[in-house]
Amino acid sequence: MKANNSTQNRLTRRRIIAFAVILVLAFAIFLGRLFFMQILQPDEWVVQAQDNNTQAFNLPALRGIIYDRNDTILSRNVASYNITLIAAGLPDDEGAVQEIFRELSELIDLPVNQGELTLEDPYVPCISDHGIAQIALYGESATPYTEVQVKCDVKEEIAMIVREKSMDWPGISVEIQPIRDYPTGSLTASIVGFLGPIPALQEEFYRELGFQANRDKVGYAGIELQFQELLAGLNGRRVAEIDVAGKILKPDIEEPKQPQDGHSLRLTLDTRLQQASEEILKDEMQDWNDYFGKIVYNSGVVIAMNPQTGEILSMVSYPNYENNRMSRFIPAYYYNQLANDPTKPLLNHAVGDVLPAGSVFKLATAVGALNEGVVTPDQIIDTPPKIEITEKYYANDPGRAREFVDWNEAGFGQLDFVHGLANSSNVYFYKLGGGYKDEVPDGGLGICRLGTYAAALGYGDAAGVGLPDEEDGLIPDPTWKRINHAESWSSGDTYIASVGQGYVLATPIQVLLSAAIIANDGKYMQPTLLRDVLDPDGNVVELWVDEEGNYYDAPVPGARQISPFKEYQNWDITEDPVIQEFGETTIRGCEPIIGQTKTVEPWVLDEVQEGMRMAVTIGTLKKQFDGATISAAGKTGTAEYCDQYALAKNLCIPGNWPTHAWTVGYAPYENPEIAVLAFVYNGGEGSSVAGPIVRRVLEAYFELNAIDSAAQNP
């Protein structure tokens, strides 16, 4: 040490204190911050730490099964096998991994390398077509401890081979996923419907109900949609502790909530009758198409129900679709093809199509005219080939003459009530509905009274059979016409409505209901497709439903029992005062007299029933029911229509519109237990194509009945 200035400590106290001050200040700030974070606001951080550390798993509930009345399965869950990969489970050795990929590739026919993971072409389970290596790469980077699907819906044999290989192929496994299967396929598709992914718009709604958006499916159509709430069940939930790579450290850190499987449904349908109905419809249409040498008839409806209980035994809406094709995902090309088809296969025409009812609507006119005393049963009415009526738009309108022709160009001469109905004479019903000179004075039944009788017979309001998208149909009145056509109701409109043409629109189920109510002596039994609701163990549960569609497991005022099945009478037109009385009908429209209602006299229904019976024995259905061993009654309808498809084909020639064919019938006449409706779109003459269908379905029903009772009493 040469310099004397380095032989003593010249480091001043000040310079040390300055250091210490800075140091203490910094540590004080740190401690303050530490105290603030750990002691004053720890909750915020603890929540985030738990968030990091826990993962909730949604446990899927099994969807309920749909049976027909004889426990034939219409919709069920089947196992679908997916080959999956857990990236963290693959061997460390790259060569071994490649070996596994190569062998797996050969087995499941998926290249090891295919495509590339990009933003434009991301990995989408079961849909994107990446190679095994690309999917493994995705799994490794995104969810190393969670299964990613390599190939979905492989054959069971392949799944078994993969399982056997699980020792040699670490990281590769088989996932079993339930998918919906419809053993009866297209036969019941328009009733059962199909499932689809949760739509983005409803994601929030379903998430709150415990659904998992890109896994769970919900009903898109039919029973699957209508009873989604009952079928779906309640998903379970478990919460596990995970580490940063998603590996489960503790399986259940809170009490797991087990999933509650959905309810199963037993429908009123009889698949055998459904099958028969569809075959008969197709067969009859085929016969006529063969006869014409071209396809004229390609769309129709057959419904069979028990008029005494309201149970729907078959409901065919043809053409339909194959709902099994929608079970995994909804193929866009197939869906678009169905959506663009003019015959609208996705629509259940039995409840969702509104059509001109034609002459089957004469049942409403008939009941009304007798009950109101417009005619007496024995009164003879002149029924020439055509009548000329002055069409008036208001009371003092001088009007102009308009011809109304009968379908029978020769005319029927003179008819009493039952023969008028049996022969479905247009002129007879024109006169009843709109009045004719002194023969049927005071304007006949009139549109207002016709409307209330139609409503009493089930028209104008959706029947509520238990399907989505049911339509109301239309019973027109002067007010409706003013609003929708900006025109006054004319006397001609009444004449046309009396025979079910013009503005009158009905769904096939409504037409069937009108006949069923008459057949059942005026008792309107609530039609239904649902017979019982079953719990996951197969026991029938007690269930009530109110107007809003809420389910209750005990009787609640305003709710009706839907399970176990109990027939429900909406009303009895001979006992419940469902017929509204009207004051003088004015240009302003129908003016109901508040509080004045009445019932239908029972004898009126006897007369109408007799007319319908005579339609089969001597009238419009005589030829079709020739030699029948069952005592049936019925009514035909030939409904003129002019829709967009007819227009497009230039079929709407004035005075010669194309026609739909209707026939409704029931049997046995004495104690009706089955009512059948047949409708063929553009089916021409009502009786010729639809009549035989009704007869054959009635026969099929009784044949099945015989088989069943033979099986029961051997």
Binding site: M1, N9, L11, R15, I16, M37, P42, V46, N52, A245
Partner: protein, 370 residues
């Protein structure tokens, strides 16, 4: 040089050694907890390595303490030249051969020369300033000291290792200050000190720029980006509470949401497992160690010894402040570890070497103490 007889082990600072030992032992314990569950780190046997470094380090403390620190003064020039040469060779050869050049493979263990270089810089600067204190500390002397410092720093900066470079510059400035930096010079430096960081920002590497930008303008959406680690560190600290989740029980630590938890973020890991109280104790121990170093600086026989102790105190204090500040998101992310606690053999060795020097100074303190 004084006679060795004036050196008595009765002055040996056992409290300092004890505090250091506590911190190192706690650090090893914490490293064990932090790497649990990480197979790769377990296979590397980090705990075992740290123990070996710690044992070696304590031997170094005893050896260094027993050697009169004035010996290093006479070796100052040799050590400086040697360090510059090693760093330069490492940079040139290392970057040519390995691409990166922070490590020096001794065959048995990897040594980071930059860590040892910090201690050598302290000795060299302490020796230089001890001869240029007070009035002698003119601008020329300051410039020379800076030049000497930069002779080492430049190679570290080129590695590139910004944080160690900053530590070295801070040591330089602290010793400059201790040597009686005049107020007018200080103000001059302050002016330059503001200009230089702004002017040098464009010359930083992208990842360095990014770190600073992320600190100043955090991107709220960058969950998995650069701020992920900091975010996880905050969650880790915040969820500790008063007494922590328990040793080996910290959810963020054991489930590995906290990254580099055995090095840069061992403070956060401590905060979650031992809570506010445990962390407070660690911080107080660190403060105690630094204050014992400052005490040595105060009691040192001469300026050279005082400056060595002051430099070691600076090194430990600055690294601790920066590391804890980063953990608490009060400072931008750097690669600085928590002295004595974090995993890192070279770092531990160099700090224990520093402690040894401080002990050497305190052993040979002014004889006028009662």
């Amino acid at each position: 040089m004084r006679e060795p007889s004036s050196t008595t082990w009765q002055h040996f600072d056992f409290l300092l050694l004890g505090a250091v030992a506590l911190l190192v032992i706690f650090g090893i314990t914490m490293i064990r907890s932090a790497i649990a569950g990480n197979i790769e780190l377990l296979e590397l046997n980090l705990v075992g390595r740290q123990i070996i470094f710690a044992i070696g380090g304590f031997v170094i403390i005893i050896v260094t303490a027993s050697i009169d620190y004035h010996l290093w003064a006479s070796l100052s020039r040799t050590m400086y030249i040697g360090t510059v040469l090693v760093l330069a060779v490492l940079f040139i050869v290392g970057s040519a051969v390995f691409g990166s050049a922070r490590w020096f493979d001794t065959g048995v263990i990897l040594i980071q020369p930059s860590e040892i270089a910090k201690i050598i810089l302290i000795i060299v600067l302490a020796y230089f300033f001890s001869r240029n204190m007070g009035d002698a500390l003119d601008l020329k002397a300051i410039a020379r000291s800076l030049l000497m410092t930069m002779g080492i720093v430049i190679w570290i900066l080129l590695q590139p290792n910004l944080s160690t470079s900053i530590v070295m510059l801070v040591i330089w400035f602290a010793l400059l200050w201790a040597s009686g930096l005049k107020l007018k010079h200080l103000l001059l430096f302050l002016g330059v000190g503001i200009v230089i960081p702004l002017a040098s920002f464009p010359f930083l590497f992208d990842y360095q720029k990014q770190r600073i930008l992320n600190f100043i303008f955090p991107d709220p959406d960058a969950t998995f980006g650069e701020i992920y680690n900091i975010r996880q560190a905050l969650i880790t600290i915040g969820s500790g509470g008063w007494f922590g989740q328990g040793y080996g029980q910290g959810s963020q630590v054991q489930s590995r949401f906290l990254k580099v938890r055995h090095t840069d973020f061992i403070f956060s890991a401590t905060a979650q497992e031992f809570g506010f109280v445990g962390t407070l104790i660690v911080m107080l121990l660190l403060l105690f160690v630094i204050f014992r170093c400052l005490r040595a600086a105060r009691l040192a026989r001469d300026s050279f010894g005082a400056l060595i102790a002051y430099g070691v105190a600076t090194m430990i204090a600055f690294q601790a402040i920066v590391n804890i500040g980063v953990n608490l998101n009060l400072l931008p992310a750097t690669g600085l570890t928590l002295p004595l606690v974090s995993y890192g053999g070279s770092s531990l060795l160099s700090i224990l070497l520093g402690i040894g020097l401080v002990e050497s100074v305190i052993l040979r303190q002014k004889s006028l103490e009662f």
